[in-house]
Every structure is written in structure tokens, then in C-alpha cells.
Symmetry: C2
């Protein structure tokens, strides 16, 4: 950066000019321009807007960011904002950021580690005040983020990562509740549809399924591993239906997978919960509208998003690193066999 | 803005220092920092990253924005990014912006005109280079946007608005194709589930439904007006099923509504398409996984998003205002009665 850049003329109209013209304080001009934080009476606002229009004033966010050392925005990286679960998460993060006066830049990694790293770099270059990462980075790669020195928080992250703030749910406990509910319905052959995870640890949902079966003295049912989306669930469902020892119940590790499994079951001419009972995981809106409606383990998405955003830009930011784990809740509908 | 703000010291490390330390040009440092536009060999990139880390360099987006008079971001305002249709749209707009090197700030209006106006003001204050509006503003209110002098484009907008670039689909032609398909299946009593629109014009989908029936010499079937989402569809479905002259087929104005209608039909113990055939509108991924899979009129969401983004920040930006209308396409699955 050179000082000449800074002196590039941008028109002489300042906030002070607008305030003088409208007969209000510069603070009031700021409230009108920024839509807050304080409310302005409609008549006053109209005067300020007239002055802005007549004088041709344009607020200079870049100068403000330079002064504050903050762009008052955060970044959010998700694998796919078109996936209903991440769409819900993105809406919740945007709400939480807006609550604190911050904007949210959304970036999709589309499941590509290269694109994810590029997104993080781009966000750093845009000087966001922090990044919420709800994506699929391999932990060793996170070091990159450290070196770029942006505050960050991992969202949708079940395990603690040294050196990072993170927020997640207790996957293992949630899965256990789901499987125990199916056991209580009398099922003895409970299959598992589980997503493909990067990393070398067993997914907490698989651990929860295993432990619940073991504690009940039941054998492991068949498993199918596939993508966490609808198409992945459809493929997993077809495989579970074709297994030698077809399960009488399935625990699906995401609502999206469950939607695909339901399609496979319907296509096979079988019924849910009559022939095969199901419980899934996430608690998305879609799970309420499948046929039959899904009994599901709900994640507290809004609370998690708020917690992640506050860790980045809230009052307690910059404090000790924390790994916050939230509990899940079983929402009972019809797919499990409950009336 | 005062010049003193501009001279606030931000640490002495510049891109030039990094380039000198790493033994590369400042352009190469820029490529590494911004993730492009040109690729950098991994070994070179590692040297630059080491230099950045050792010197503690942080690229200054605010100074760059001040120099360029551009934040290299666009804004997107949607009613609800958690709604799968708008989630898909948001992903497509983000991709199109990223393609041109721009970031995307996402803002939800949650169906509130007051929040929408506040969002637009906030985006203006952040000095985004333009705003894509895929929301529900009343046209008279759009004047506000003009006075704030941000380039803007209306996305998902079927009718032209004087003074604005806009992008939409031919709702009327799409609805006509859907209804004519149901007529070809032999239906003579075709109901309509339609959303609640602001403004005082008939929704193009309702016009298309009406015209297709009229041209075939068929009477109007029952209609139900409700929210464009799943819950709205569920309510509309229950009303259509309870109508004196129950329809043998329904045209639903959105996939979300159709999902709710399917639930109402299943709960009533009826089957689709046996008892009631259906065609819906949008072409979302969810429509492929309902039971039965929905025959739907698909909107070319990605093409529309690209067109909107290019009108804002592409090569032809700033040209004559245009209202671009894209054609829809009937995707035939099972809900209509096709084998």
C-alpha cells in the first residue's frame, strides 16, 4: 500500500456535510446509513436520506475498515450451502452475525480441500474478522489457517482440535439414544447407514450405534457407508435391503441419507415402519415432511451457530480456546413405529 | 473520514517485504495471498507462506478496497437461505461471483420488508459492488435502492421493473406446460395450489394454469392460496382434499408446497398418482426424492444466477438495463402418472 492510493480523491462529500445539511448530528447520519444500532424517527431519516441523495454522499466502508482494522464481516465456509443442513446452519450463522452488527461472507468448498484452502485465503485477503469453518478439512491442513492468523472456529466439529475453538454435538450420545429407541421397539437386527468421513477416527454416530447394541447384548446389524446426502442414502438403502440378513430397523446418520433410504424402501415395495423402522440424525425441516415423518435426533443448530459466532466476535473472543459440545434431542414421529 | 484515520500505523510489513524475503516478485505474493488468479508452484508457495509467517505480514484488504474503490464483493438478499430453493440459488450466485474473483455477502430478509431495507442499507454501507435481490420487496420500495446508488439486479423476478436489471423465468409458459401435461393424462378437474404474492398482479403460474384450462375447454378446478413452503403446501393440500369437487390432479406452484401436499394426501390414505396426480414447479433436488418422485417444471437456477451476477459485475455491466427471461423445462417423473 502506498500513501498515494490513500489520497485518491473520492469526492468531497463527508458524513459531516450530510449532518450539517440535514441539521442532525453525524451519529444520526451513521445510524441511518448503517441501519442502526439506534433507531431514527422516520421524519429525521427522510431528511438524512434527502441530504444523502442531494449531496451525492456515499459512505466509505473501506476507509472505515482501515480505521477500525476490521471489516465487520465474518466468513463462513461450508461444503455445500445447497444442502439443507448447511443451508440451515448458514442462515443461523448469518442471523447471529447480524445480531452483533456483522455481515457474513459465504463460501462453498464443494467437498474439495483445495477449494477450501483457497476460500480461507480469499477470506483472509478480504480481511474478515474471523472465519467459521463448517467443512471437511483434514486436521493437519488446519495449520494453514493458524499461519494466516485469522481468528477461527470449527463448527459442526465433534472432536476437539488442538489450537482451535470448536463447536459440535455429542454424536455418540445422540446415536445411542436413537438406537436404544429402536431397541425399545423390540428390534434385534438394527442396521447402520453412515457417511464417509475424512480422517482416521470412527464417526461418533457409529460408536454410539455399536455401544448401544453391545450394551443390549445384540449383534451388529449390517452397515452401509456412503455419501452424507440423498443420493448416498439411496445407494446405502439399496445395499442394506439386499443384505443376507436384512435389518428390521435402520439408524441413518443424517436426515438426507434417511430421505434416500426411504426412497429405496418404497421402491422395493416395503413399508416404514411396518417392514423396516427408521431413526435418523439432524432434525432438519425436511425430516418432518417425509412419508412417513422421520423420528430424528435433532442438533441445536441455532444455539451452535450463536456459540461459534460469539467465540469469534462476541465479548468473550480472544479468551481461552474452548471445545463446546451441545446435547441432542430425540424428536419422535412415525418412522420408528411410535403411533 | 479524516486523513489521520488513514495514517493509523498497521505494522511496517508490506507485500514488498514478503517478496524480497521470499525472493519472488510482488505479483507472486499476491497470487499466493489471493489464491490466484495465476497458479504458483508448490515450492514457491511454501517459500512465500514461510515469509508471510516469519515477517507477520497480513494483507490489507481495506487499503486495497480504498485504492480500487471496490470491495470485490457482492451482496445477495434472499427471504430465507434455509429454504432449499433459495439455498440452491445462493450456492449458484456464490459460484458465479467466485468465478469473477468476487466474494458474496449473504443476507436474509425473513420475509420482512423492514429487514430487507435494513439489509440493503447495511450492504451499501459495506460498499459491496452490487446487490442481487432475490427477495420480496414491493416495487415502490425499490426506489430506496436507487437512491443508495448501488448497482442492483432483481433475481427470481418474473416481471420487468422500470429502472432495474432483472432475471426471471417465464412462469406462465412453465405453468401451462405442467397443466397441459396433466390434461394429456386425461384429467378434467385440475386444482391449483398457489403461493401468496405481494403486489397486485396475478402470479404468472396462476395465469398459465387458467389459460391452459381455458384453451382445453375445461372448467377451473378448486384453488388454495397459502405460503410457498412445506407447511403452506400441507395446509393447501388439506383444503383441496376437502373441497366439494375434489380434484383428480393438482398443479403446485413450488416443490416445497408439493412436498406438503404429498403429506396431506398420504395422511388422507390416498395415493399419488392413482387417486390424485401432481405436477409442481422449481426442479429442486428434493423433488427427486419425494414419494412418489415429483414431475416438476425446472427453473434454470445456475444459468439465472450467472446472468444476474454478470449483469452486476461482468464485462457488460453498466450497459442498458435488461429484463432477461429464461425458459423452464418439464422433468417427467412419477407423480403425474407417467410410468
Amino acid at each position: 500500500m502506498t500513501t498515494s492510493a490513500v489520497h485518491t480523491p473520492r469526492g468531497p462529500v463527508t458524513r459531516k456535510d450530510v449532518a450539517r445539511y440535514a441539521g442532525v448530528s453525524t451519529a444520526v447520519v451513521s445510524y441511518v446509513v448503517n441501519g442502526g444500532p439506534k433507531n431514527v424517527a422516520p421524519a429525521t431519516e427522510a431528511k438524512v436520506r434527502d441530504a444523502i441523495s442531494i449531496l451525492g454522499y456515499r459512505p466509505n466502508a473501506a476507509a472505515r475498515a482501515l480505521k477500525l482494522g476490521s471489516s465487520e464481516t465474518i466468513g463462513l465456509v461450508v461444503p455445500d450451502s445447497g444442502n439443507p443442513f448447511f443451508a440451515l446452519l448458514a442462515h443461523a450463522v448469518e442471523d447471529a452475525a447480524a445480531e452483533l452488527g456483522y455481515g457474513m461472507v459465504l463460501a462453498n468448498s464443494d467437498g474439495s480441500l483445495a477449494k477450501e484452502k483457497r476460500n480461507i485465503r480469499n477470506l483472509a485477503a478480504r480481511q474478515v474478522d474471523g472465519v467459521v469453518l463448517a467443512s471437511c478439512v483434514f486436521e493437519p491442513e488446519l495449520a494453514d489457517l493458524e499461519s494466516s492468523e485469522i481468528p477461527s472456529v470449527l463448527l459442526n466439529h465433534a472432536a476437539a482440535s488442538p489450537g482451535f475453538n470448536s463447536v459440535g454435538v455429542d454424536l455418540e450420545a445422540g446415536a445411542r439414544i436413537a438406537v436404544e429407541h429402536l431397541i425399545a421397539h423390540g428390534h434385534k437386527n438394527i442396521g447402520l447407514a453412515i457417511g464417509i468421513n475424512v480422517g482416521n477416527e470412527l464417526d461418533g454416530r457409529e460408536v454410539g450405534w455399536l455401544n448401544a447394541l453391545r450394551d443390549a447384548g445384540l449383534p451388529e446389524g449390517p452397515t452401509a457407508r456412503s455419501e452424507f446426502d440423498r443420493a448416498g442414502g439411496y445407494a446405502a438403502g439399496k445395499r442394506l435391503l439386499a443384505s443376507v440378513n436384512r435389518p428390521t430397523a435402520i439408524f441413518a446418520s443424517s436426515d438426507m441419507q434417511a430421505v434416500g433410504i426411504l426412497r429405496a424402501i418404497h421402491e422395493a415395495g416395503l413399508s416404514v415402519p411396518g417392514d423396516i423402522a427408521m431413526v435418523s440424525f439432524d432434525g432438519s425441516t425436511e425430516s418432518e415432511y417425509t412419508w412417513p415423518a422421520l423420528t430424528t435426533v435433532a442438533q441445536p443448530v441455532r444455539v451452535m451457530a450463536e456459540s461459534a459466532v460469539r467465540a469469534l466476535i462476541g465479548e468473550g473472543r480472544g479468551g481461552e480456546l474452548q471445545h463446546r459440545i451441545f446435547p441432542t434431542e430425540l424428536i419422535v414421529r412415525q418412522s420408528c413405529g411410535c403411533p
